[in-house]
Amino acid sequence: MALLSNTAVLLGKELRTEFRSRELLTTTVVFILTIVVLFSFTFDPSVSESRRFGPGLLWLAFLFAASLMLQPCFLREQNNDTLSALRLSISDPFAIFLAKLAANTLFLLFTQVLLLPAFAILYNVPVLAAFPQLVLVMFMGSLGLSVTGTALSAISAQARMRELLLPLLLLPLLTPVLIASTEATAALLVPNPTMRWDWLGFLLAFDVVFLTALWLFGEYLLEE
């Protein structure tokens, strides 16, 4: 119970500080909207071509969004050494990870909610046909991006070349998540959408494995 209540308190802090400063969301939303708009000029947005390239482009934009969001996730805690204050205050440091993971996932979902209509209009792709399934895939994919990114953000925040280290570690590890998410999304944007449960199962397994690793070894990632 202490874990859940501490996670809830910390999540509240994450949301409050972000909505007060709007540092992450503003930068990320502007950045990924620019990407999607720019690519819409490059590709012929006929339905067939959009369905071919669209899912990959969409998840590439989400990957960039995640990279931008995850970098300051633990770095911000170092400005005033607030991470130490959190470690002194709670008995289970997994709550810190859970709160950051939940916040990152929510921020990613928020950007996806903004991006999806723009994508549908600019690329002429109908997204409403399988909207609930699409939301599920986006949630599982975002969770995969966040769980891996949150762990690596904690590692890279203590390193010297931290700005370089996070993308360097993140991109290879996230390749399976991106492939699974792209394939599952692509299957939902065709004329007869089908849910690819195999890819969704893969995403679920990935999320569970990384979350378990974070639970087991998270404490060591925060140590000096």
């Binding site: 802090k13 050494d81 130490s84 709670i90």
Partner: protein, 234 residues
């Protein structure tokens, strides 16, 4: 700060080594601090003062050796330190108000009535009027007051202060000295690191000098006391 609702607690360092790679930050430090002592750690930059305090706060794990807290009921070795810690950094969030910061940490520490405790501490550190102001709008001295209030939330029996007067103007330093006097007189065990002699250091009852991670001098108030601080400042 004046009501003692804690168990007087001492602290024992047993053969503490702390290495970062091949570099020794602490070397075979063995100390026993009795409950209620007010100890100042002096030494040059890099002598190991901050590392020792962070080991005591259990923020850094010693490479070898052990830290234990000694209360009336015996030795305690919990994973979480029972000490309140004021570091050189303020350890509070700039984007939260003074009250929000205290409420956040009070809730995380499971304090029964967080709002009431936060209000009491804000009054004690003289920030009641600015409770709703964002910490980023505060001066260094005001931030330090919030930091002290945060460290005292759970009424710790041991208080660790890492260069607490850095960046404070003379007025702020005087306020801090008065706060420290009250902490000491309330029976808390205080461990602090300082660079040299000051109004604050005169309140200590014991001075320990560190050099290259090792304890090189340890004395109670007396003839050697000032020399320890003076040498550290040289």
């Amino acid at each position: 700060m004046t009501t003692a609702s804690f168990t007087p607690t001492g602290i024992r360092f047993e053969n503490i080594d702390k290495r970062y790679g091949g570099l020794y930050a602490l070397r075979r430090v063995s100390l026993e601090i009795a409950a209620g002592e007010c100890v100042v750690f002096a030494g040059r930059n890099g002598s190991g003062k901050t590392t020792l305090l962070r080991v005591a706060a259990r923020l850094a794990r010693p490479s070898s050796g052990a830290v234990s807290f000694l209360s009336g009921s015996g030795e305690k070795n919990e994973a979480r330190s029972p000490a309140g810690f004021v570091a050189h950094a303020t350890m509070v969030y700039d984007e939260l108000t003074a009250e929000e910061n205290l409420l956040l940490f009070a809730r995380l520490q499971g304090i029964a009535e967080p709002a009431s405790r936060a209000a009491t501490l804000l009054r004690e550190v003289g920030l009641e009027e600015r409770r709703d102001s964002l910490v980023r709008t505060f001066s260094r001295g005001m931030r330090q007051r919030v930091a002290i209030a945060r460290a005292l939330l759970n009424e710790p029996a041991v208080v660790l202060l890492d260069e607490p007067t850095t960046g404070l103007d003379p007025q702020g330093a005087s306020w801090f000295a008065e706060t420290l006097r009250r902490l000491r007189d309330s029976g808390r065990t205080v461990l602090m690191s300082l660079h040299g002699e000051s109004e604050v250091s005169t309140l200590a009852t014991r001075a320990i000098r560190l050099d290259a991670g090792a304890v090189v001098a340890d004395t109670l108030t007396g003839a050697n006391f000032r020399s320890i601080l003076a040498v550290a400042n040289a």
